[in-house]
Structures are given as C-alpha cells and as structure tokens.
C-alpha cells in the first residue's frame, strides 16, 4: 500500500507559481477553482498541506482521497 492520492480543492485559480508551495503535488485549475492533487504520505502530511492552504489565505472547498490522479 502506498500513499493515498488526495485532491484538495481551493477557490480561485492559482498560477503555477504555487507549485513550490505544494511540493510533490500538481495544480490544475477549472471553473474558478484549483485542484491540488498528489500523493499524501499520511495524516500529518495532509494536515501540513491544509495548513499551507490556510496560511495562504485560500478558501478550502473540499478534501477527498481519489483513486485516479487528477
């Protein structure tokens, strides 16, 4: 079992600059939202990513594990 792929969706379309903020994740934008997708090692990693979202003043829309990469 490897890490789970998570998709974190935030409001607003982020530029690729933000890739450095979410290392190891890919950013895709659509319909005024951005999906931050990638392998998440564990809960601590996940909370770390969510913390980044907060730090950047972004609005969190959803967090979901997914079986397919974005």
């Amino acid at each position: 079992m490897g890490p789970t792929i998570y998709q974190i969706v935030v409001r607003g379309e982020l530029s690729q600059r933000y890739v450095v903020a979410f290392e190891g994740m890919t950013l895709t934008t659509r319909d005024g939202k951005t999906a931050i997708t990638g392998p998440v090692t564990d809960q601590a990693h996940l909370y770390g990513l969510l913390g980044r979202v907060g730090d950047l003043g972004l609005e969190l829309v959803s967090v979901n594990p997914t079986l397919e990469p974005a």
């Binding site: 379309e13 600059r17 770390g48 913390g51």
Partner: protein, 922 residues
C-alpha cells in the same frame, strides 16, 4: 540550581511542510519537574513581540469594528478568528493605540517558539507589566513561571490579576501557532476562573481548542469573525476614494464582490490600481476573472514596482523580521532603512515592530507570496540569500536564527559548524529540544558520519532520559575524536565533557559532575570563543560549585559559586542567582561561619520570594543554611520550620539535600530528647538511598552521625560497627572529625578524641560538613579535661567560649550535656572574660536537661473503633485505603486517628504506633 537539559518538551517548530513561522530568536527551553534541579529560561525577551506592530500606511478606520471590540472587551474573552490576510492584526493594533480600550493594553505577538508554558507565561507577564496596568505593589511585578512549570503559578496569576485596580486587555496575536497542551490548559484555567479585570483578546486563524461554548452561553464571549472583518461596499469606497476617485460606484461594488471584502485582496487591488491607465477596465477584468486574487494581484503589484524596489522586495522577503542592516546584507545595498520606511508608507507590505520602530516585519501572507515569485524567477538565488542571512545572524551571535537560515540554504557544513559551536550552550540552558529539532533537519547520513553531530544526537537520549544509551555514545567518543582534525578536537573534547557532566547531573552522580565539569571548564579556556557563552558558563559554574559543595570540597565550591554569581547576574538568570546564593549560604554554614551563612541565606530567600520561587529547589539550600544557623543558636522551633521548608523545596529528586535535612532533623530530635526518633530518622535516610551513590564525605557524615547517636542511645556495638565500616576511607573533613570526636568521648576515649580533633584545630583539615569551630574547641576542652591536662582544657574552653559568644552558638554546649555543664562549672573561674556567657549556658543547659520525650501514656481509653483503626496504623496503607477497607468515609478514619493521637498524647502516626507498642496496645 543549574543543571542539564532533561526536557521532554515536543519540538517547537514543525517543519514537515515548512509552514510554521520560525521562532524569532534563541529561546531556551526549561526542564521538566521530575528531573533534578534545572536551568532557567534565558531572559532575553524579544521586545519586538511585546509591542503592537504599527504602520504609517494609511488605514481606513472602521469604527463599527472598533465598536465591536469595545463591546467585546467588556467581557472576559473576545475572539478574533479569521483566515490569513483578513486584517486582524492591523485592526487590533489600531484599536489598541486608540483611546477606546477599557484599560491598558498588553500586547503579545506569538509564534511557534512560544509553545512552551514557561516561555509563554514569561512573555505574557512581560506584556502585562509593560502595559502599565500593574501597580508596583502587585505580585505580578515579580511573578515568574518556574522552570518545570509548577501548578502553583496559575492560581497565583489568576488571583493577582483579579486584584488589579483597572481592567487590563491582554491581546494574544497569532494564537493558532500555539499548540502545546500545557499552555492551552493554562489559558483554559484563566478562562474558567475569569478574573474580572482580565479582558483577553485572542487573534487567530483557527478557532482555538478552548471551551468557547460555555463562555458563549454565559455571555462571556464576544466574537469578531471573517464576516465582520470583511470590508463593506462603503468601506471599500472609502478605501479607494483617496487614491482612485475616478472609479464609479459600480466599480466599487464589483471590487468588493470579487474580493469578498478580504482585506489582503483589497490592499493588493488598491496597490495594483496605482498607475493603471484605465482603472475601470482593470476592475472589470478582475471581476470577470477567476484567478486567485492574492496570486494574481501580487504579480501585478510586483510588476508595477520600480526595479530597485522590486528587487528589494524579492531579496528581503526570505526573512520575516528585518532591520535596515539585514536588508542591506541581503541586497548588497546601503539604503535598507529608507527602503523599508518607504515600503511601510507606500504600500504597507511591512509594519514596524518594537518600541524603537527600527525593526520591520513583513505581512506574513505577502512575504509568502513574494517568496514564490522569487523562487520562480531565481531558483538558485533563494539559497544564496538564506546563506547571507545565516552569516549575518551568526556574526551577531543569534545562533538559532543563523542555524535555521543555514539549514534553509542547505548549507550543511555551515549549519553543522554553528550547531556544534552553540550546541553545548543550548544543552546547558535546557534547550536541548530546540537543538534536537535543528539537528534533525540535517541530512541523516551527514549526521551519522560526523562525530560532533553524532554526539549532539546523544543529547536526544539525555533529553529522553535514556542514560545508558547516552553513556554508550560517550564511551565511543575517544575513537571518534581520532576522525577529526586537530582544530576540532578541542571543541569535541569540550562537548564530551559538557555532556558527561549533564548526564551525571541527571543521576545525581556528583563526583562525575565535578570531574567532567572541571574538565569542561578547563577546556573552555583552551577553546576560547568557540566554547561556552556567558549563560552556559554560569550554569556550568553553578553546577560544578554545587557538586563540589556536596562532595565536601568547600574551597573549590566557593571558587566556582563566587565566579558564577556575577555571571548569572550579568546574564540576568534569576533562578541561577538564587541557586548560587543558597549554595554559598550553605557553604558558610558548613564552615561554621554562621553570620555569613545567615546573611546570604536571607538574601537568597528574599530574591526567591520576589520572583515567586520561594518553594523552588533553587531556594532549598538557603532554607537549610538558615535551619542550621537557628539550630546552633538554639532556636529549635525555627530550625525545625526551615528544615521542613528545605525538604519541601528540594522534593525527592535532589538526594544530597534530603540527606542533609535528615541529619539536621535527627539532631533536632535528639536535642528534644527523642533519641529513638533521631535513630529512626538517620536509619531511614540511610535506607532510602537506593540507587544513588552519595559522595564519600557526605556518606561518611551520615554514618558517623548515626554512630554517635547509637552510642548515645546505649548501642555501643552498632556504633562501633558503623564507625569501623569507614575507617581508612580517606582523610576526614572537619565536620566528620567533630562527630567522630564526640563518639570517642562518649566511648570514654578522650585521647582518641583529642587526636581526631588535632587536624581540625590546627587548620590542616578542610572544614566541611558542619564544623563549627566553637564546637571543636569545646570538645577539645572536654578531652583535655578528661586527660587531666587542665591548662589545655582551660585554654580550649576560653577559645570555644569567645568563638561561641561571637557567633551566638549555644547548641554545641547543650548537646554535650552533663559533661559540658560540669566543665563549665569547674572552669568558670578560669575564663573570666566569658562569665556572663558561661552563666547563660549553664542555665540553658540545666533547662534542656529536663526536656525529655514524655513516657508513653494513655490519657483515656480508646474506643473499639479507634482500636480497629489503630491496628491499621503500623501498615503502609493511606487513610483512604484504610477507609476503603473498612467501608467507612475518609473523614471517619481521620476522626478516629485524631482521637487516637489525642488519647496517646502524641502528634503523629509513627509516634502513635511506637507509644501503642510500648503500652502493649498493639
């Protein structure tokens, strides 16, 4: 007392996602209460945390929000909870400096480094004191959280707050950085007890894990949330009015809608609009756009900056707190100060912090966004900038900041060097958790290959209380040293010695603390500036001094303690000062210099009292010193009281003190005629020393005391056995010789006594473990008299009396009982200078001869219930356990016990058992 690190605190900075703000400076961590005496938190409080940030940038005054805060601070708690960039800090800073708050405002900007109860409350208190709300007679003036954070602190804080004459507003900004359970519990405590004068304002990005619901229901909670903080259309209009009068109402509405009133977004929008040829178009486009506001607009704003400013922004955003000097170091320019001032005025990206307003801090969000731009534009440049920052901090001795920057720069060699250089200091100041955290951020293979780092890694094991593993690490050290080049070997040796000493402290192995500590101090002078800094040096000196004291090397002890005291004063390490003073007081008591002991002991306790440390382990020595002085001055009540306080203050962790207190208590019991009790006390002390090897002299002092007591109790064989067990263990200290001489006299061997005393009296024996010179001379007089050397007896007695009168010593004469009385009476004529004193002593001696423990008696018969309880008393069961066993309430058992004590005429359980046995009730 100074000591090693033994912290089990969690690391203070989470770096897995690099998201937490780094602590803004070196801040040592305190130790945990179940460890031996510990060092104090360094007191270099960062002033920049204690003043609200301010800005010259024009703000829109939003009085509706001020109104909310006014109303909120009529209650206990106002919670300002909203995401990053909502404008919390700006609002609170503006409100704090207005006339509106109901009382003085105490400000504290928190960061991840405050995740520690002692640190947190030290800062909170500092903030309160700065606010002007604390009158000079309030206990808050001097209150300080103890290392180890005992639970007496919070109630004291709450009650002191309740007594304030006016309300005080305590603003805690960035509370979301605080995750430590103890700190949160402390806040919870304050909220529960709600001192009416306290008005807490908590600013945070996430709702804190506190019992808000309860406060809400009871009407003690006011909230200011994102919805409140969001700019209204009217407010946006005002924001734009000055700079962009050309925008229509529709534009304003559009902008408000697009940004959702988010302060950071609006700020960026306003800045982006500057210099836009067609503002209306810009707004329309923005409105029709889905791009993340902050992302898009930061790019816009950056683009609009003149080249020099743009470059400045990108280069300086890698650190959060800046001075013009640091900015210059990063940019290579000379205009850092003016650039920052301009930044503050023109776009408010930075705010000033600190009262002198020369330090600036970036808005965290903007700095973060700028960093992404930087990384995109100049990927290699980021590391270079971190490296420069590291160098700048290192030059100024800001160790932890320097190391953090070096790590961010991935400059492993540089970081390692800094870590190793400052490691020992961090350990000694009890900041091993920070050290561990920093070492943990180095690549693992590097750590393993580097002997110095590997050794520092062993601090982890000391911190976690795994002494065997740590000892194993230290054993391989010499081989490791071979791998290093010449110049690092000295430093390595210093590190090894420091850690050995710290480890030994943990297990109360005083001989080793002494050995390793002295080695470290010697190496220190060789290694020079690369070695221990002031703070750490003070700690080491106090440690070694204390260890020397308890090992009986009083001269050494005095040297180190006297050296450590001014260093501690200079470094403003309050508890260390108390520790040094206490130990020095005890030292003088050991030498029989009672006046000096009294003076220093009183000083120590006053200093401790002032800071609210009266019951801390650092003060224990002071109590004991005073106890001994009172004993020798025959004030047994006070002696007993202070002995009790010494025991309470030192707790069970500090074994040497426990032993010394036991010896004094035994003497007290004997003075009161309770010989049986005194024997119990010393025997118990001897048996309680499982797992600890006391230093030779200390042990011998105990054993000889017991021997003397047994001899006096008519147990000559035990006394003999005890004494023989220590023959030939090396030269005696003065105090030991005195006890031995008393023993000899009791056994009818005055020649032996005189021989033993010879080295005391001619000064060749080092004083220690309580040699009161008057006593030695008295015993010599008794011995000489028994040997019919009347001339020498008279001379010795004369000497004894003049010393005794001068120092107020009486106890020695009383302890010597009938033989002393006889001596005084017979030689009275030959010591004309001291007649009145002799008479006093004779009187006192006669009175004390009548003091005995009353024979066991039964004042009244025990009831059947009392008999039942009595049968339980010899056991180790607590009263609760007894109550449970008997199916009665605790109160019932206690009542019966009291009845038993009263009827037996005793005051305690053990006495009751003894009396009952003698009366054949058991």
């Amino acid at each position: 007392m100074a000591g090693s690190s033994a912290a089990t605190a969690t690391p203070t900075v989470d770096t897995t996602a690099g998201r937490k703000r780094s602590p803004r400076g070196a801040r040592p961590r305190p130790d945990r209460p179940d460890q031996p005496p510990t060092a104090e938190v360094g007191t270099a409080l960062l002033e920049t945390k204690l003043t609200p940030p301010s800005t010259a940038f024009r703000q829109v005054i939003r009085s509706r929000l001020f109104d909310l805060l006014d109303a909120g601070t009529e209650q206990l708690l106002t919670l300002v909870s909203a995401p990053a960039g909502a404008g919390k800090t700006t609002l609170l800073a503006a409100w704090s400096s207005s006339r509106r708050p109901p009382g003085p405002v105490a400000w504290l900007s928190l960061d991840a480094g405050d995740n520690d109860a002692v640190s947190f409350w030290a800062y909170a208190l500092a903030a309160l004191r700065r606010s002007g709300a604390v009158p000079s007679d309030s206990p808050l003036r001097a209150l300080a959280p103890q290392p180890g954070f005992d639970h007496a602190f919070l109630p004291m804080l709450a009650s002191s707050l309740a007594e304030l004459p006016t309300p005080v507003v305590l603003v805690l900004d960035d509370l979301h950085d605080i995750t430590d359970a103890t700190v949160l519990e402390g806040l919870e405590f304050l909220l529960r007890h709600g001192p009416p004068q306290l008005r807490l304002v908590l600013a945070t990005r996430v709702d804190p894990p506190l019992s808000l619901q309860r406060l809400l229901v009871s009407g003690q909670l006011a909230q200011v949330r994102a919805a409140n903080l969001a700019f209204t259309v009217a407010e946006v209009a005002e924001l734009l009015a000055e700079n962009h009068p050309g925008l229509s109402e529709d534009d304003v509405t559009l902008l408000q809608a697009r940004t959702e009133g988010w302060a950071a977004g609006l700020r960026l929008a306003v800045l982006s609009l500057k210099g836009q040829p067609d503002p209306h178009r810009f707004v329309t486009e923005l409105a029709g756009d889905d791009r993340s506001i902050a992302d898009y607009l930061t790019g816009e704003v950056l683009e609009r900056q003149p080249g020099a400013m743009r470059s400045f922004l990108l280069r300086t955003c890698i650190v959060e707190e800046l001075t013009g000097e640091l900015a210059d170091a990063l940019t290579g320019g000379h205009d850092g100060d003016s650039m920052l001032a301009h930044l503050e005025r023109a776009n408010g990206f930075v705010m000033t912090v600190g009262s002198r307003r020369r330090s600036y801090r970036y808005h965290q969000l903007f700095a973060e966004l700028l960093r992404y731009h930087l990384r995109q534009e100049a990927p290699g440049g980021v590391d270079r900038l971190h490296r420069r920052a590291a160098g700048w901090y290192a030059e100024r001795g800001l160790a932890v900041n320097a190391i953090q920057q070096a790590l961010l720069a991935k400059e492993w060699r540089f970081a390692t060097d800094l870590i190793v250089k400052h490691g020992p200091s961090l350990i000694l100041r009890g900041d091993a958790a920070t050290l561990r955290d920093l070492v943990g951020r180095l690549p693992a293979d590097l750590v393993q290959a580097d002997p110095e780092l590997a050794l520092l890694g062993a601090t982890d094991r000391i911190v976690r209380g795994d002494p065997e593993a740590a000892t194993a690490d230290l054993l391989t050290a010499p081989q490791q040293a071979e791998l290093l080049d010449e110049e690092r070997r000295g430093r390595f040796a210093l590190l090894v010695a420091t850690m050995k000493s710290a480890l030994a402290w943990q297990s109360c192995d005083l001989d080793q603390v002494l050995r390793a500590g002295q080695e470290a101090l010697a190496l220190q002078s060789l290694v020079g500036t690369d070695g221990l800094d002031d703070d750490a040096r003070a700690v080491m000196l106090a440690n070694v001094g204390t260890a020397a004291l308890w090992a009986g090397h009083l001269d050494d002890a005095e040297l180190h303690l006297r050296e450590g005291l001014p260093v501690a004063l200079r470094a403003e390490l309050g508890s260390l000062q108390v520790a040094c003073l206490s130990q020095l007081a005890l030292l003088h008591a050991m030498r029989g210099e009672l006046d000096e002991a009294f003076r220093l002991g009183t000083n120590a306790l006053e200093a401790a009292e002032q800071h609210g440390w009266a019951s801390s382990v650092q003060a224990a020595g002071g109590y004991l010193a005073l106890a001994w002085v009172y004993y020798y001055r025959d004030d047994l009540g006070e002696a007993s009281r202070y002995a009790g306080q010494a025991a309470a203050a030192s707790g069970v962790a500090w074994q040497p003190m426990t032993l010394a207190v036991a010896i004094l208590r035994a003497r007290l019991q004997r003075a009161r005629g309770d010989l049986a009790g005194s024997l119990d006390t010393v025997a118990a002390a001897r048996q309680a020393l499982t797992g600890w090897r006391p230093p030779t002299h200390l042990w011998r002092w105990l054993v000889l005391t017991e021997a003397e007591l047994r001899s006096g109790a008519g147990q000559p064989h035990s006394a003999d056995a005890l004494r023989k067990s220590h023959d030939g263990s090396g030269p005696l200290l003065g105090g030991e010789a005195v006890v031995l001489a008393r023993l000899h006299l009791a056994e009818g061997d005055p020649a032996g006594a005189a021989a033993t005393l010879a080295s005391c009296l001619d000064g060749t024996a080092p004083g220690g473990f309580l040699m009161v010179p008057a006593e030695a001379w008295l015993l010599n007089a008794l011995a000489s008299d028994a040997l019919a050397d009347h001339g020498r007896a008279a001379a010795s007695l004369d000497r004894a009396l003049s010393l005794a009168e001068h120092g107020g010593v009486r106890r020695s004469f009383l302890d010597a009982g009938a033989p002393a009385r006889s001596l005084l009476a017979r030689y009275r004529q030959r010591v004309p200078a001291s007649w009145s004193y002799v008479d006093e002593l004779l009187q006192a001696s006669a009175e004390s001869a009548q003091v005995t423990v009353p024979a066991p008696r039964l004042i009244e018969h025990l009831t059947e219930r009392e008999h039942t309880v009595l049968r339980y008393l010899p056991s180790l069961m607590t009263y609760e356990e007894i109550a449970a066993d008997l199916y009665v309430s605790l109160n019932t058992v206690k009542t019966h016990a009291c009845g038993i004590f009263r009827k037996l005429g005793v005051t305690g359980r053990r006495q009751a058992v003894r009396s009952a046995r003698e009366l054949h009730l058991l």
